[in-house]
């Protein structure tokens, strides 16, 4: 909580918050991290296997095999979202399923399904990027900043 907000609180509020905090169960951080590590790692390992398979059996190169491998993982993630399994997996695995590309696909698919009742245009179309929108906005913005920095470094002759 910000310092300014804390100053605005009354003594009773501060005391109560301390009182309530003591009774609040802590998030099991270590357990959550281990689960996230195992599941997230497993998803990435599975992606790697797919990539090797695309190189070995379908004639892709190391550079091009990433795309079809990601596509397969995205399709599976969307499928699990639609079947109603992904949210349970997410509750168990936490960041393990949220951080890889699967989490991004799930955030879009889940919002699309949820708002279908408001119609395809205003519902699905309008709300699909409700959660993913900020990832795209800040992703594009950071890419722009990084490109600017690179341009300046090239211009200065550093790289």
């Amino acid at each position: 909580m910000s310092k300014k907000k804390e100053q605005n609180m009354t003594q009773a509020q501060k005391e109560y918050q301390k009182f309530a905090k003591e009774r609040e169960p802590k998030r099991p951080v270590l357990k959550n991290c281990s689960k996230a590590f195992i599941v997230g790692g497993a998803i990435c390992a599975f992606g790697q296997i797919l990539q090797f398979a695309f190189i070995k059996y379908f004639g892709f190169t190391e550079k091009t095999a990433g795309n079809p491998a990601s596509a397969v993982i995205i399709i599976l993630s969307v499928l699990f979202t639609g079947l109603g399994v992904y949210d349970h997996l997410g509750q168990w695995a936490g960041a393990g399923t949220a951080i890889p590309i699967t989490g991004f696909a799930n955030s879009i698919a889940s919002a699309a399904i949820e708002h279908k009742t408001e119609g395809y245009v205003l519902g699905t179309g309008g709300n699909m990027f409700k959660l993913a929108g900020s990832v795209i906005t800040f992703g594009v913005f950071s890419a722009f900043i990084v490109a600017l920095i690179k341009m300046c470094l090239v211009w200065l002759g550093v790289i």
């Binding site: 907000k5 009774r23 992904y86 949210d87």
Partner: protein, 333 residues
């Protein structure tokens, strides 16, 4: 009649002549399944949206309550109802189908007891013979409005709560057989500066404590007057906070009389984090489980303290704290 600073005493004995509780599939697997009048095995209730399903739950609860005492919709003078949807559409749309003069109430999850207190006041003042007080929530429609899409795989903390899918209705009449509403205490909005929407129990506990203490003071009672005092949906964290605060303030609330509807409705092995929540939590547990126990003679005097967190998805994004309220209604056999 007003008594003390914020309580009403009902001298004309408004009586709950019938009540009904309707639930969804998750409630059917819960600990109080037997006390529901109707349980659905499909969360959609054959509707094409969760909002419509919620409306159907409310309509069914009212219909069952009316049928139980062999009345017709035309006999009902007023319909008071609340829910958590924007502009309380569930209640208004159910009222459209019922075609009974309607007053919408909003006190978040405290709407159930807000409705019952007002319905009793209307009947007590001889302004009506039959008034229905009802409340409904649907887990998926509430998740959609307040949190994330239902299929989104975000991880919830252990302090989160599970919104009940269901509806409860009570038919309050000027005469008849059944549990009587004897008093009500209307709560103040209390804000202790908590901001976490995934920990509503801790935010609401001070409101519940304030209303309970004021109730005892206004009516000159103490906890031993009641066989059971139940908070609406504080969950495990909020309820233990409320219990500790009350004992600090000199009220001895033993664990066999001080309960929480949010901790009773589901079984221990159901994944509901800190407990249940929603308007339907206190409504179904009170109008189903508790009133059934009163009719069986297991309970004689109960106090229901429904708690509500008066936040909106926009208010917490704008970093506002969570104002909370609690209304208490005393029901005696």
């Amino acid at each position: 009649m007003k008594k003390g600073s914020q309580s009403w005493v009902f001298n004309n004995n408004p009586v709950i002549i019938s009540s009904a509780a309707v639930g969804g599939p998750f409630e059917a697997k819960g600990a109080l399944a037997e006390d529901f009048d109707l349980l659905h095995d499909d969360i959609w209730l054959e509707q094409d949206s969760f909002e419509k399903a919620e409306k159907v739950l409310l309509e069914e609860a009212c219909d069952i309550a009316i049928k139980k005492c062999k009345l017709k919709k035309e006999n009902i003078n007023f319909f008071l109802s609340g829910d958590l949807m924007n502009q309380i559409i569930t209640s208004s749309f159910a009222a459209r189908a019922m075609s009974v003069p309607f007053l919408g109430v909003f006190g978040a999850c405290s709407s159930s007891m807000e409705g019952l207190a007002l319905a009793s006041l209307i009947v007590d003042s001889n302004s009506a013979d039959y008034v229905i007080a009802a409340a409904a929530t649907h887990n998926a429609s509430v998740e959609k409005q307040f949190r994330y899409p239902t299929e989104y795989g975000g991880q919830k903390p252990p302090t989160a709560q599970w919104t009940v899918t269901g509806a409860g209705a009570a038919l309050v009449a000027s005469k008849g057989e059944g549990p009587k509403v004897t008093a009500a205490t209307i709560g103040k909005v209390i804000d202790m500066g908590l901001t976490d929407p995934f920990n509503m129990g801790a935010a609401m506990a001070p409101a519940a404590v304030h209303t309970i203490e004021t109730h005892f003071k206004d009516l000159n009672r103490d906890p031993s007057y009641y066989d059971l005092i139940a908070t609406g949906d504080l969950g495990s964290i909020g309820h233990s906070i409320a219990s500790d605060l009350l004992s600090q303030h000199g009220f001895n609330m033993t664990s066999n009389i001080f309960k929480d509807c949010g901790l009773l409705i589901y079984k221990k092995d159901q994944p509901v984090f800190a407990g249940a929540s929603g308007c339907a939590c206190s409504a179904t547990v009170t109008y189903g489980h508790f009133l059934n126990r009163m009719r069986k003679g297991e309970l004689r005097k109960i106090l229901i303290v429904a708690t509500g967190a008066l936040l909106s998805p926009m208010s917490y994004q704008q970093k506002e704290s969570i104002p909370c309220i609690a209304h208490a209604v005393s029901i005696e056999m």
